[in-house]
């Protein structure tokens, strides 16, 4: 039998070129050509009175300096609204270059094409833009106030949405106990170490526009560019070879710079590159996470939740290119692993004069889990019931799947949990952290320290549609070439898809080569986001491999004069089951799969027209067949599959400095069948680190005028290794019944419950309520003073 790859901690095939410095990131492409430099608004809300670019044109090396008025054709239109939604009554997207008005600090105003970025920035200094500033709308309070971000959007409300299950009002009236909570979270952002980037070349001979782009969705970048430039799709090729982290930010497309580089490449017949610098990433890409929640919960004496009423406000920044996806995810993922017979959620999504808000790893689930888990802990405290026990009493039980939440998920389909075992997740994580032994450990806390413990559970909808595809081709040299349309930004797709194909086809893992995110290889795809790539493309390449296997067995059956049912593929050879001596190498089957007139090798002679093979009364390619040992496979799920997990953390808080130290961090994770535990654990490590960053270190520090005061790595406290502890991981494998491989997504999970679990542990240590994240030492110090006053 071929050695099985699925489930093994195989080392990544991606790594060799990356560790040798031979990766191919977008900025690595092309040294000649033009560089695009953007001039961005220094005001959060202002009218543009005049722009004088005349002196910039004089700088040696400048090709062009453009403002909105210089843009041709469809480039004058606002960028597309990527995901419309019925609740989004006032969608707004930005222009490629600002038209009359700027609505956040960082909005693109002028584009400079120059021989390099140094020259571009010299020219930028010579452009004079005159603004008339207006009152900036910064933060949720201001958004609900009198000043407007868009003059034609009253109250700054982009969307006002309600979903309702059961009858909350009645449940709350009848509940023996009702508690109210106000919870809020701050902004952070993806902060991939590679910023946004695009490199476009126009080959006027073949009439092809070739774009290397740091994107999570190359196929959609292609359609968007072709559409806006009004050229045929066939003239546009987009590929993302290596992408230096995405985290959701690089789902957004097309960015103004994507269009300008593409347009400029054709217009000036020179390659054009845009490489975002760090400041630009802070002020002109995307942020996420600012939300404020008001919660009312009714429950009985045993702590069973009878009704939950949630009203939250989502700060969507200045524009809504990604629709209402983030707040919709909070709304539908808030129930988590708990039974909520009566649940109502309303959100208002409001405009502010800040960078747009679009999903960042976790995608509004951290807020959902923070809200739900804080609520559970508050009920436990009120009733004086152990927090773990209160969770047990409210869990959806393993025999209750499929479990219908009664809501519509972000894929437009019913939110129905497919499988899971939430009680076991909890028991495992409690055992791991020794929950019951905590009182003993707490009693040994050193002086000057306070110790606390917390636990949090979550459910994550993953692997959503509409579809992905995969293509598998066996080359006559024996290599198996696999492609899928979605892009990779560190997830190890090349390795895991090769594992899947190797097993399905019966070839050694080493023979499989995978390409992702290249429209020249695979034209149809959705993209890498929502923890969907392994589920979607994994099942698609598996299907493609099965079709190739079927075809190989048919062809080999003729060549071997055997019954197809008696054949198997082992170690890249098609053979009679259990009789390796009667077999034919897959590479030779690939030769036979393509009837030839011209031979290119000794092996290929067997497929030529005088070789004497085949029935002379049949055409060489029979009706319904295709030449080549290849096939495309598709996977399109009826709905999302739901992964889950439980995190527990033990912390110590310093009584003098208010610094939070993580003593132990434990994760039990269930993403169905594991394709590669090494890679899944790596995803969890990184997710937890981003969660800790968002819980204790990072926020976007806007001043009241809308200036981002910490737009650099000097001031935005992205953690180094000194801030991130070791994470202990255990798995549960509850297969998904929705897809043949039984897998669920794993990419985002690590980040989701971190703010909730750290808040729980700090609350346990301090003895007062934690309702706000992130939690900086200065804030914790203030809270201590306030709570001391209250108790005096």
């Amino acid at each position: 039998m071929t050695t099985q790859s699925f489930g093994k901690a195989i080392r990544r095939t991606e790594d060799d070129r990356l560790i040798r410095g031979h990766g191919s990131f977008t900025d690595d492409a092309g040294s000649a050509g033009l560089s695009l430099t953007m001039i961005r608004s220094p005001y959060a809300n202002a009218r543009i009175l005049s722009i004088d670019v005349s002196e910039a044109w004089d700088v040696e090396g400048v090709q062009a300096v453009l403002t909105y008025n210089d843009l041709p054709g469809r480039l004058v239109e606002p960028l597309p609204l990527l995901i419309p939604h019925p609740s989004l009554v006032a969608p707004r997207t930005q222009y490629i270059l600002a038209k009359e008005h700027v609505r956040y600090v960082g909005e693109a105003v002028v584009a400079i094409f120059a021989t390099d970025r140094y020259v571009g920035e010299d020219a930028a200094e010579r452009v004079i833009v005159e603004y008339e500033p207006r009152e900036a709308v910064v933060g949720i309070d201001a958004a609900l106030g009198p000043n407007l971000v868009h003059d034609d959007v009253p109250g700054n409300v982009a969307a006002d949405h309600v979903e309702h299950v059961g009858n909350v009002d009645q449940a709350l009236v009848g509940a023996p106990h009702v508690l109210e909570l106000d919870l809020d979270m701050e902004r952070s952002m993806g902060s991939s170490l590679e910023g946004r980037a695009s490199h476009a070349t126009w080959d006027r001979h073949s009439r092809k526009l070739r774009i290397q782009n740091a994107t999570q969705t190359p196929t959609s970048v292609r359609f968007a560019v072709a559409n806006i430039l009004e050229i045929p799709d066939e003239q546009v090729e987009v590929f993302a070879i290596d992408v230096g982290g995405g985290f959701g930010t690089k789902v957004i497309h097309p960015w103004p710079e994507d269009i300008l580089t593409a347009w400029g490449a054709i217009e000036y017949e020179r390659p054009v590159k845009f490489t975002e610098d760090r400041v630009e990433h802070f002020i002109s890409s995307s942020h996420e996470r600012a939300q404020r929640h008001q919660i009312k919960v009714g429950f009985d004496d045993e702590g069973r939740i009878l009704g939950l009423d949630v009203d939250f406000v989502h700060d969507n920044g200045a524009y809504t290119p990604y629709g209402m996806i983030a707040p919709l995810i909070t709304a539908t993922q808030l129930p988590g692993p708990y039974k909520l017979p009566n649940y109502r959620v309303r959100f208002r999504s409001v405009y502010t004069n800040t960078v747009q808000v679009t999903p960042y790893r976790g995608a509004a689930r951290p807020h959902a889990v923070f809200s739900m888990e804080r609520t559970i802990d508050r009920i436990a405290a009120f009733l004086d019931i152990d927090r773990a026990e209160l969770r047990r009493r409210n869990f959806i039980q393993p025999d209750e799947f499929p479990y219908d939440l009664g809501m519509i998920f972000q894929d437009g389909r019913p939110a129905i949990y497919d499988s899971g075992n939430y009680p076991e997740l909890l028991e495992k994580v409690l055992a791991m952290i020794d929950w019951d032994g905590f009182p003993e450990r707490r009693s040994q806390t050193p002086s000057g320290r306070r110790r606390g413990i917390g636990v949090a559970c979550y459910v994550e909808g993953t692997g959503l549609g509409p579809y992905e595809g995969g293509h598998v081709r066996v080359e006559t040299g024996g290599k198996v070439q696999v492609s899928t349309g979605l892009a990779s930004s560190g997830q190890g797709h090349h390795t895991v898809f090769a594992q899947i194909v190797a097993d399905e086809l019966g070839v050694p893992f080493e023979d499989v080569e995978v390409v992702t995110g290249d429209t020249r290889r695979f034209q149809y795809a959705v993209g890498t986001f929502a923890s969907r790539a392994a589920v979607m493309s994994g099942n698609a390449v598996a299907e493609a491999a099965r079709l190739v296997k079927e075809k190989a067995i048919q062809i080999a059956a003729e060549a071997l004069e055997a019954n197809p049912d008696d054949l198997e593929i082992v170690d890249a050879q098609v053979q009679v089951k259990g009789t390796p001596a009667r077999g034919i190498p897959l590479a030779q089957v690939a030769v036979l799969a393509n009837p030839l007139r011209y031979s290119f090798s000794e092996a290929a002679r067997a497929a030529t027209q005088f070789a004497g093979a085949g029935d002379l009364d049949e055409p060489p390619i029979k009706p319904g067949e295709d030449p080549g040992l290849e096939a495309a496979g598709w996977y399109s799920p009826v709905r999302s599959t739901f992964a889950s997990g439980a995190h527990a953390v033990e912390v110590e808080v310093d009584t003098a400095t208010s610094e939070v130290e993580i003593l132990r961090y434990c994760v039990v994770h269930d993403c169905g069948r594991l394709i590669n535990p090494l890679i899944v654990e790596g995803q969890i490590h990184g997710g937890v680190a981003q969660g800790i960053a968002g819980a204790l270190y990072e926020k976007m520090a806007y001043d009241e005028d809308g200036n981002l005061q910490n737009a650099s790595f000097m001031d935005f406290l992205m953690p180094y290794c000194t801030e991130i502890p070791e994470v202990e991981i255990d798995h549960l494998e509850t297969p998904s019944p929705l897809n043949p491989l039984g897998i669920k997504g794993a990419g985002e999970a690590g980040v989701i419950p971190v703010s909730a679990v750290i808040a729980a542990a700090v609350e346990d240590a301090e003895g007062f309520q934690i309702n706000h994240m992130p939690l900086f030492p200065s804030e914790l110090h203030e809270m201590r003073l306030m709570n001391a006053e209250v108790s005096e």
Binding site: I19, H22, D58, L193, D242, G244, Q690, T722
Partner: protein, 164 residues
């Protein structure tokens, strides 16, 4: 307007001396990536905080985004491309990062490799504190650092076992 003065600059990179013509303000990171085509050195922040652009100058880790090319003329510069010969045997730090899954997107990786290389070539038996101290100036957004620490530990182990 403002034609800039250029300089002939001799750069000794990975044992090979090459001459480039560049203005005084050309950063070493841009000279390596642009003029010399050594794109393995990455630029993550351009203000010396993330460590992606770390190269070794006379054996010590240096931020190439804060260094002018003209300032390191004739010094011994090592970049990630110099750790192993093309297609040749991996350097222990490269081997260890692969074995321990110490990289995901790979963008920060060259900076970590060069930093770790400087550490273990000076000290093949570093303590946990020494490892932390060495890599605490490099940012990674993907891995949570756990496997990077493991990789540095393992790289030192490889060096020690190669000696015995």
């Amino acid at each position: 307007m403002n034609t800039e003065e250029s300089y002939e600059i001799r750069l000794k990179v990975n044992g090979k001396t090459q001459q480039i013509t560049a203005p005084a303000r050309r950063l070493l990171s841009d000279a390596l990536r642009g003029e010399l085509g050594l794109t393995g050195t990455h630029v993550g922040c351009e203000h010396g905080v993330c460590g992606c652009c770390t190269v070794l100058v006379d054996g010590a880790p240096v931020r190439s985004c804060l260094t002018f090319a003209v300032a390191v003329q004739d010094r011994e510069i090592r970049t990630v491309e110099g750790l192993a010969a093309d297609g040749g045997e991996l350097h222990p730090v490269q081997e260890a990062f692969k074995e321990c899954h110490g990289l995901q997107c790979g963008f920060c990786t060259p900076g970590f490799l060069m930093t770790a290389c400087a550490l273990i070539e000076q000290n093949d038996d570093p303590t946990e504190e020494e490892i932390t101290e060495a890599i605490a100036g490099n940012l990674c957004r993907c891995t949570g650092y756990q496997n990077i620490r493991a990789a540095v530990r393992y790289a030192a182990e490889i060096v020690r076992s190669d000696k015995t």
